[in-house]
Amino acid sequence: MKNIYLLFCFGVFLLTACDELVDVDAPTNQLGTEQVFESPETANAALAGLYADLRDGSVITGAGFYTAGTLMASYTDELDCYTNDQDGILDIYRNLQQETNTVISNIWNTAYGQVYYANSIIYGATHSTKLSDTEKNQITGEALLIRSLIYFYLQQFFGDIPYTSSLDYEYNRNLTKTDATAVLEQLETDVTEAASLLEDEYRDSERIHLNRKAAQLLLARIYLLREEWELAEQTAGTIIESPLYEFEEDINEVFHKTGKHILWQLQPENDGDATEEASFYYFSDAAPSAYTLAPDLVNSFDNNDLRKQEWIAEVSFDGESWYRPFKYKNKDNGSNDNEYSVIFRLAEPYFIMAEALIKQNRQNEALPYLNAIRERAGLTALTSLSGEDFINELLAEKRREFFTEFGHRFLDLKRTGYLNELRAVKTNWEDYMQVWPLPQNELLLNPNLNPQNTGY
């Protein structure tokens, strides 16, 4: 009996001090969410992560299999795809995309991951008790603008999309689709707010962070979509007239990081790193195995067009020739001393301005903007154009100016209603391909997102 009593005591002794025994220190590579927003340094580090994400793996990454720049160029009429892989890349090029396409679900998933990221920063900064109002405005403004840019692409690719500014997963898992018009309306509000929170002055010397003018550029795009011609004209105008920017006259300087025509560019991670645009499209002395410029695009250039000479490279092999994008030259890491990935440049507000003016039947005012672009490329100025011809010429010019950049071609054709004209060069094109299918897995996980987009 004594022994049993002894055992009992032993057990009681062991039980008493156990609570603290299982306490652990916080992991060294994590920081409590509240702490992150207690100082501008850590809050800006959270924002830096979001910029890095945009640069490395987002819809606006310069080039790559999961980017608007590459995918949308091949979905429309700018790039031909030669890959033998079956994983969805080729299907996008052939316009055979299905709801199980892994590329599409990848784009969707990373985009919403970044939306959450931005929402988390916005929430953290606005609820912070330690950050100053100026710091809060800058952080919230940039995060809000990034989120809006991602939503903008999601809306353009998928049509009606779920929109959320919440962090609550119980709410976010049951989202329903917001219709396209309402999304754009919401984006107009959001970007307007971002513009009011941000300053014109850049917070760095290389324009690698967002400022108010960048917000206004996105706003001008949205006005075009919403057919608010006057607002588009005004907004693009404030950018063009801003002393921050100068139109770049030298075609060879357009993708150099020091240009005064740049509104926003993404800096590669390390000094000397090549941009994705420079390395991704490169091939030489071989038949293509990834992407080449569509012959139809190459042929659309006048032979005197400086852009054809400077922005396109020819690859010859075995008696055949192909062309690859060559806007960015420094393909090797370590040797890139003058190129960043230029996301927003002044040529875009020129085109926005031209389009907004044409839509208001002010062709003569519109023409100079188009001619500025033409003249820089060594082409003669156009003297008169009107109506549909003007729009067609504008689209062709923009294709020559912005090929393989961030899906401009798709956005432009879609906005102006010319997307279905692609059928002439894309044999599998169907009318319903204005939008992509929502990823099947997403519909299964959240049936509220049904129905699937028409046609899929």
Partner: protein, 1016 residues
């Protein structure tokens, strides 16, 4: 000085007093003893020296046999390695008792002889003597109340495997083991009575090596492309030949004492101990093995392949071939043929193994030291190799009075693995058979004018790892008071691993103009340090018919893990690639330290009445740092009972039934395999930087409320022994229910993440029956045949899941069905009108969509499995074989198939293609990938009933033949052996290997090995 003198004289006086006293005592003794000696007469009148040799029934020497005088068991010795023993001054009429585990104890009167040779009879099962390791305690096999499967060294020794788990496949009922890949150094998938958790990693069993838990979670972070899921096995660090036994604890009675970590079963590994003997034994064991891939798929040859390709373009209405269709457009030689399976994974891998060991000791102290070296190459060739060095020692001590025991062991292992970075097995099945040669005449890689993405370029990118593990274990016990033992079990487990992932620019097609400025290297270092302290008190007492055994103890475990991963790229030359100092840019990818703390108290009460009725109660209260502060502690417990009905009077004298036991158990266990810190709301530091600022990103969706997952286990079993233990039969029925499922609940991407850690109200049930039959059909003087058979019928079911409708699980699970189901489209065949695959349109909306049309629930999984071993011993020959069998349905190659007609080779089955002239064709007409309709229906096809089929197989898993050479002079034992692994497979499965489902990875290999074992 003076003092010393007086002191020493006092001492002398005292000594002489003692001597005198002794003298008196002796005198007294003599006076007392004389009459005894007189009466007992001649017995003690004379003593003699006795020696002899102890052998088994096959005349093999038996070392380590206890030889004692029956009358006074403290006098005795143990036999040497040659089986010889020497006993001096033995009364000439003494009775010698020879005992040895596994043999029947023999008592032989000396009868004045000086040479007493004996032959011990093997006790076939010696059920009454065999003890089983149950972790915190041992239990006699016949008295155990829980479900424990055990495999002994004899069955697993010398098998040509790197990991003991390969050797025990098919040998234990209820334990299903599959090897992750045929690449050495990888992991295993172990299911002990099925899948309890909906989380994959939540199904790891607990591993305990010599009393110290080792983490089942792999610390490898860079091996994911070559080892399935980057998993390694904690038992890779053990030489299978160092293992004495493996016990697997299955039911609640056996596992509840492991509380929160016992839900998936516990694997106890005990390493070999030294054997007592007056002579020290040296052993050398060496073997050489060769391995090749066990199965190949039959693929199209060039003629068939090109025919398919051309037809595909015809079907698509294309007359010209695209510029990059090199196989058919004339770029590549159309008369070439290569069997890529032979070319790329067809090398013969070799396996060399050498082990040296020394063991010996006295009855009180024994030791064993063993060192081994193993090298195994791969079927990829190219010098890829897995090397292990093991060094272990073990020391046992028992004090003369038997009160104090000590057992200490150290296991050190050094594994280095050098592999290709990503497995190219799946490439071998799809590469065009007329693709160009791999190498040019000068030996350099052939890119065929940059038209060929040379698969062996993948070999340029390598993965290497170096893992050093030390396991220290110490177990001390002391009999504090009569029948009260105080014990301390402690151990240290340290693992340091380094990994290196190299991607030189030469792996890429030179068409992309990639220079060493894009060469990159990942370097990762992980360190894991864990220690364990387990003080315990044990009380054992017998009061007449009552026996009681009490155990109380506590566990404290701390595990710290640090990891560092660095990425560097841009090298002047690839010669410098292994040193990150030479990289132009270096970034830290991960630098983390994580901690895990674990504390528990546990106890056991075992009560026996008349050796017939046994009750076993176990319990544990656990705390784990993996849960939020309010959910850290939980209690687990079990009750087990056994009735040895063969001990009852009505059966006691039965001639046919010599053992019968009915046992049952019920209890709960838990599972804390969820990773550390999942309950925290944090941002994580990231290696990427922007604009000179380092970055932070949200770690996870935040839920501090999740808590323990619990498994309730119920079991009933019958164990019987017949015909003097010549036949044993046991039948087990069990039912495990795991509730409060702790899972990463899948979420739509709109939440920002793909899952959240939370408890689900779902319950998964695993129930089943297991049968084991162990027989000795022939037991003759020179010949013995032992035959064992086991079979298990697992049955897995999701029994409840409130709210599954509308949850994110609705499409993956169905209440009332196993968790391994797949919901698929119903394949109806090929439409004779369109030539397209057709499927049942359940919702009749005119199109095939998910989830409305993938309504067919296919039960993918095992119906039953088991093994049949046979062992024949004839004189000096030993022969055994093991058949493993599995009845199951699984995904077949149709699920992986790329569109037939694209630039990918296909199995010959795809030749049976539908056309108007072949309306029964199995596959749809080919397409080069440009036919939208065909692409679409192929996608449904790959998610349809056509992809699930029978994958049952019978496999000759292991065969071994060994021969003992006649012993002479100093050499005590020489054994030659031949072993084979995965030799034959009988299956109708459509795919590479029916046992193996890590898609795209190399299946397990077929191996032959030859070896020699020498003891002297």
């Amino acid at each position: 000085m003076q003092n010393f003198k007086s002191y020493s004289s006092a001492l002398l006086r005292r000594v002489s007093q003692i001597v005198n006293g002794l003298d008196r005592t002796l005198k007294l003794l003599v006076i007392f003893c004389i009459p005894i000696l007189l009466f007992s007469g001649h017995a003690y009148a004379q003593t003699i020296n006795v020696s002899g040799r102890v052998t088994d029934q096959n005349n093999q020497s038996l070392p380590g046999v206890n030889v004692v005088l029956k009358e006074s068991p403290s006098i005795g010795t143990i036999t040497e390695a040659s089986g010889r023993y020497f006993l001096d001054d033995v009364p000439s009429d003494a009775i010698l008792s020879f005992s040895f585990i596994g043999f029947k104890t023999l008592e032989i009167p000396v009868n004045g002889r000086s040479l007493v040779d004996v032959q011990l009879q093997e006790d076939i099962t010696t059920l009454s003597e065999v003890t089983v390791n149950a972790g915190y305690y041992t239990v006699k096999e016949r008295e155990r109340t829980g479900s424990i499967s055990s495999v002994a060294a004899k069955e697993i020794e010398n098998q040509p495997v790197n990991n003991v788990l390969s050797a025990v496949q098919g040998r234990m009922a209820g334990v299903n083991i599959t090897q992750g890949s045929g690449v050495p150094g990888g992991g295993y998938n172990i299911q002990i009575r099925g899948v309890n958790s909906l989380r994959r990693t939540g199904n790891y069993p607990m591993y305990i090596i010599d009393g110290v838990p080792v983490s089942a979670e792999s610390s490898s972070s860079l091996s994911g492309a070559i080892l399935p899921r980057g998993e390694t096995s904690p038992l890779n660090a053990l030489n299978p030949n160092d293992i004495e036994s493996i016990e697997i604890l299955k039911d609640a009675d056996a596992t509840a004492i492991y509380g929160s970590r016992g839900a998936n079963g516990v694997i106890l590994v005990t390493t070999k101990k030294g054997k007592a003997g007056s002579k020290t034994i040296f052993s050398i064991n060496s073997s050489y093995g060769i391995s090749r891939i066990a199965n190949k798929m039959e693929l199209m040859n060039t003629e068939q392949y090109l025919e398919m390709r051309r037809q595909a373009y015809v079907n698509d209405g294309r007359t010209d071939y695209p510029a990059n269709a090199y196989d058919v457009n004339g770029t590549w030689d159309e008369n070439r043929y290569t069997d890529w399976q032979d070319e790329l994974i067809g090398e013969t891998a070799t396996n060399t193994n050498i082990q040296l060991s020394v063991n010996g000791g006295s009855q009180t102290t024994r030791f064993l030291i063993s060192g081994s070296h193993n090298e195994q190459s791969t079927v990829y060739g190219k010098g890829f190799k897995y090397k292990t060095n093991n060094l272990s020692w073990n020391l046992n001590h028992r004090s003369k009075d038997n009160k104090f025991t000590l057992n200490a062991s150290t296991l050190f292992s050094d594994q280095s693995n050098n592999l290709v970075q990503s497995d190219i097995t799946s490439k071998t099945l799809i590469l065009s058979p007329n693709a160009p040669a791999l190498y040019q005449e000068d030996g350099s890689l052939n890119w065929e004018n940059k038209t060929f993405n040379n698969p062996v370029a993948a070999y340029e990118a390598t993965y290497s790892s170096d893992v050093k593990t030390i396991n220290l274990n110490m177990n001390i016990s002391y009999e504090l008071l009569p029948a009260v033992y105080i014990k301390l079990n402690g151990g240290i487990n340290q693992q340091g691993s380094g990994e290196l992932l190299l991607s030189p620019n030469t792996r890429y097609n030179p068409a992309f103009g990639i220079t060493p400025a894009r060469s990159s290297a990942y370097k990762s270092q992980n360190r894991l340090f864990s220690y364990l302290v387990e003080p315990q008190l044990n009380y054992k007492q017998k009061y007449g018919d009552h026996e009681i055994d009490l155990l109380a103890g506590s566990t404290y475990q701390q595990r710290d893990k640090t990891s560092l991963q660095i990425f560097g790229y841009g090298f002047e030359s690839n010669a410098l690639i292994t040193n990150l100092e030479a990289a132009n840019t270096v970034s830290v990818q991960n630098d983390a330290k994580t901690e895990y703390r674990y504390f528990a108290v546990f106890g056991r009460v075992n009560y026996q009445y008349k050796k017939r009725y046994i009750v076993n109660l176990t319990g544990r209260r656990d705390g784990s740092s993996r849960f939020g502060t309010n959910n850290r502690f939980a209690s687990f417990g079990a009750v087990g009972a056994a009735w040895l009905f063969s001990e009852e009077n009505f059966l006691k004298n039965s001639t046919w039934l010599n053992f019968g036991k009915l046992r049952a158990s019920y209890g709960t266990t838990g599972n804390d395999l969820i990773g550390d810190y999942q309950y925290l709301d944090t941002y994580t530091l990231s290696s990427t930087s922007y604009g000179g600022s380092s970055s932070l990103y949200p770690s996870r969706l935040y839920n501090p409320y999740f808590s323990w997952e619990k498994t309730t286990k119920l079991e009933v079993a019958l164990e019987t022994g017949f015909l003097n233990d010549r036949m044993h039969f046991s039948a087990v029925w069990y039912r495990n229910r795991s509730g409060n499922q702790l899972v990463g609940i899948p979420l739509p991407a709109t939440t920002g993440f793909n899952s959240i850690q939370a408890n689900l109200p779902a319950t998964v049930e695993n129930k089943g029956t297991e049968f084991e039959l162990n027989t000795t059909p022939i037991q003759a003087k020179n010949f013995r045949w032992v035959s064992d058979f086991n079979i298990s019928f697992p049955d897995n079911k999701l029994v409840e899941f409130p709210g599954i409708e509308g949850s994110t699980y609705a499409n993956s699970y169905e209440v009332g069905y196993p968790v391994s189901i797949k919901k698929v489209y119903n394949y109806e065949g090929i439409d004779p009108e369109t030539g397209l695959y057709t499927f049942t349109d359940y919702n009749e909306d005119g199109s095939i969509t998910s989830p409305d049309d993938n309504q067919v629930i296919e039960d993918v999984g095992i119906k039953y499995f088991g093994g049949w071993t046979n062992q024949f011993t004839y004189k000096r020959w030993d022969f055994s074989f093991l058949f493993q069998f599995v009845k199951q349905r699984q995904s077949n190659y149709n699920a992986l198939m790329l569109n037939p007609g694209t630039m990918n080779n296909q199995p010959v089955e795809v030749l049976d293609v539908w056309s108007e002239s072949n309306p029964d064709g199995r596959y749809m007409a080919y397409t080069s990938g440009a036919d939208a309709q065909k692409n679409k229906v192929l996608r449904y096809f790959k998610g349809s009933t056509a992809t699930i089929s029978d994958a049952s197989f019978i496999r000759l898993k292991n065969i071994q033949l060994s021969y003992r050479l006649p012993v002479y002079k100093k050499v005590q034992d020489i054994r030659l052996y031949v072993q084979g692994q995965n030799l034959l497979t009988f299956t109708d499965y459509f795919g590479l290997d029916p046992e193996f489902f890590s898609t795209g990875f190399l299946p397990p290999l077929r191996t032959w090995s030859f070896g020699l074992q020498l003891n002297f």
